[in-house]
């Protein structure tokens, strides 16, 4: 589903940072991959490169066989197939919850109003916001907003979902409700790439864990291997600090 080959990303402003250094990874359809690592390790940058919110400096990234770094690729078509959920939700504050979920369906997928509405209602019910469709995002709690954001991304019928620290901006009591939605999604067989600090989620849901540090993938493996028997010293140090 996703192949990243020798991806480099260098930021030049305000000063030169090698955010990604020779990252090669592949994610199969139906797989849930959790990316963890200390802050500044490049895991968010890696995720954002996968739908070209960040333009990789060099390397190749294939989404469903399409080279997204090729300038001839219509990136908007690719992005419609790749859902993304952000740390700060980024709901559209001037649109109601329902409009947040229907807008891109109508504009990008060219769905009819009724179809978009039906799809949105089904998804909002699924994430537990079915009773608040006409309120505005700023009247919802953080957890509710994030669930709407997940529904918004799912409304495009994406083949892959990218989660960029979806629970990091939430109050502790709201983290659970968002993780529950994500777990349900994983059970349905959605291909997911999740950058998170929630080790419980990684252990329970991930098919594979990727550990990144200083812009490179240090270690990857199953959760059992990763949490019980890590091979790399850097991984051991990281785990000892957070667990």
């Amino acid at each position: 589903m996703i192949q990243a080959k020798n991806v480099y990303k260098t930021f030049y402003a305000p000063h030169e940072i090698n955010a990604l250094v020779d990252v090669t990874a592949s994610i199969e359809a139906g797989e849930v991959v959790v990316v963890i690592g200390p802050s500044g390790s490049g895991k968010s940058t890696f995720l954002r490169c996968l739908n070209r919110l960040e333009q990789a400096t060099s390397g190749h990234i294939f989404i469903d066989g399409i080279d997204i770094l090729d300038q001839r690729t219509d990136i908007n078509k690719v992005r419609a197939e790749v859902g993304m959920v952000f740390q700060s939700f980024n709901l559209f504050p001037h649109k109601s919850v329902l409009e947040n979920v229907t807008l891109a369906q109508k504009v990008v997928r060219k769905r009819k109003g009724d179809d978009a509405h039906e799809k949105a209602m089904a998804l909002l019910e699924k994430v537990g916001i079915g009773d608040k469709i006409n309120v505005y995002p700023d009247q919802l709690s953080g957890g509710q907003q994030q669930r709407v954001a997940i529904a918004r991304a799912l409304a495009m019928n994406p083949k892959v979902m990218l989660f960029d620290e979806p629970t990091s901006a939430l109050d502790p009591e709201m983290i659970g409700e968002v993780l529950d939605v994500m777990k349900a999604l994983a059970k349905e067989g959605m291909t997911m790439v999740v950058v998170t600090h929630e080790m419980g989620f990684a252990r329970e849901v991930a098919d594979r864990v990727i550990f990144m540090d200083a812009g490179a993938i240090v270690e990857e493996g199953t959760p059992e291997h990763f949490f019980t028997n890590p091979t790399h010293d850097r991984t051991k140090l990281f785990l000892s600090q957070i667990l």
């Binding site: 700060s88 504050p93 001037h94 309120v135 495009m156 901006a169 109050d171």
Partner: protein, 378 residues
């Protein structure tokens, strides 16, 4: 940050939109449907009152203010009497509207053959040798009778008709110019503002050059260049191709629109850049194109923020139109100067002139406040 959650707490930030579940509760304060800016102002007012309350002797200070205004007006009047100025406000109404005497005169040499009443009109028919002409006038204004012999130029009827005075004509021209310049100014400004934030250097630099050129030179000079330089070139070119001339009015509109557009460009740019980057990212990650994300996500949000500075810009534009008299456009100020030449009553006319501009600008600022309120609630 309007809308969106507070990134630190994840809690929603309220900014004046009524909470639906709170409608059955009494409003904590009555100013819920105002913009954030106003709300902040009101809050600070509320706070200062909570801390200090109304100042002691509130009514006395109100009276002192009123007294001050009266003293100023009194001194003004006193000074005008000192230089022996005769106030003649009674001579000003004709510059708003006046009754004009209209004579209906014959163009035919002959005899009044018939005078027929037709409702509140009268049709006078004059018959000459080989020619016959009908004249229409209001009932009761006829000065001739049937059978009377008439020479060309003789008055058949006289009546009075209300006409717009000089200041009203000027006001109408000023209004037309301001509306046209505002429309074109917004279009220019939005295009230039979008060009300014483009990655394409040709677009970006075009916008920068435009904004810097316009902002860096006096409007008066720009008006002169538009009319006497560009106007001459364009009109001569049109004449060479046998096309009609463009009147001064449109060079006036062009100069004001270009001038306002440069400022609007910066307002639009700042407004767009003030929208959090996450909004664009969210829109683009859903597969929207740059244009779609601008149209549906960024511009509607930016619009709320740029409306107040935009209103200020267009109030300026109305006032700046007073310079257009120098290219012989008979707008309000030019009309007022003509009125002064005729009456030699500069005090009254110029004071009225100021009030008329105030009517225009105040109407606009009221309308914008209404728009702001409507946007805040929608």
């Amino acid at each position: 940050m309007i809308g969106g959650p507070d990134p630190h707490t994840g809690r929603p930030v309220h900014h004046g939109r009524p909470v639906s579940s709170a409608t059955d509760r009494p409003a904590p304060f009555s100013l819920r449907l105002v913009t954030r800016q106003e709300e902040d102002l009101n809050m600070s007012e509320e706070n200062s009152q909570r801390i200090t309350g109304k100042p002691a002797n509130y009514n006395r200070w109100v009276m002192i203010f009123c007294f001050g205004v009266l003293v100023f007006l009194g001194l003004f009047y006193y000074a005008s009497q000192k230089i022996a100025y005769n106030w003649r406000w009674n001579r000003t109404p004709i510059y708003f509207a006046y009754q004009d005497d209209i004579d209906v005169t014959s163009t035919v040499d002959g005899e009044v053959s018939s005078i027929k009443e037709d409702g509140d009109k009268v049709i006078i028919t004059v018959k000459g040798i080989g020619e016959e002409e009908d004249y229409t006038a209001p009932a009761g204004s006829v000065r001739v009778s049937e059978g009377e012999f008439i020479s060309p130029g003789d008055t058949l009827a006289t009546y009075q008709k209300w006409k717009a005075g000089l200041l009203m004509i000027g006001l109408w021209i000023t209004l037309q110019i301001s509306v046209m310049a505002t429309i074109f100014g917004v279009i220019l400004g939005v295009i230039s503002g979008l060009m300014r934030i483009s990655d394409n250097p040709a677009l970006r630099w075009t916008s920068i050059v435009y904004v810097e050129l316009i902002r860096g030179s006096p409007l008066m000079v720009q008006i002169l260049i538009w009319y006497f330089v560009l106007g001459t070139l364009i009109n001569d070119l049109l004449a060479a191709y046998g096309i009609g001339q463009i009147p001064a009015f449109w060079y006036g509109v062009a100069s004001l629109a270009c001038f306002a557009g440069a400022y609007v460009s910066e307002i639009v740019r700042a407004g767009i850049q003030s929208i959090h980057r996450g909004q664009t990212e969210a829109a683009r990650s859903l597969g929207m194109s740059y244009g779609q994300s601008m149209r549906y996500i960024i511009l509607p949000q930016a619009m709320r923020r740029i409306l107040p500075p935009l209103a200020g810009q267009f109030i300026s534009l109305i006032k700046d139109s007073s310079l257009l008299g120098i290219i012989a456009i008979r707008e309000l100020t030019k009309a007022a100067r003509e009125a002064v030449t005729a009456t030699l009553q500069p005090f009254e006319v110029y004071i009225l002139l100021g009030l008329l501009y105030l009517v225009l600008t105040f109407t606009l600022s009221m309308y914008v406040q209404y728009l702001e309120r409507r946007m805040a609630t929608s």
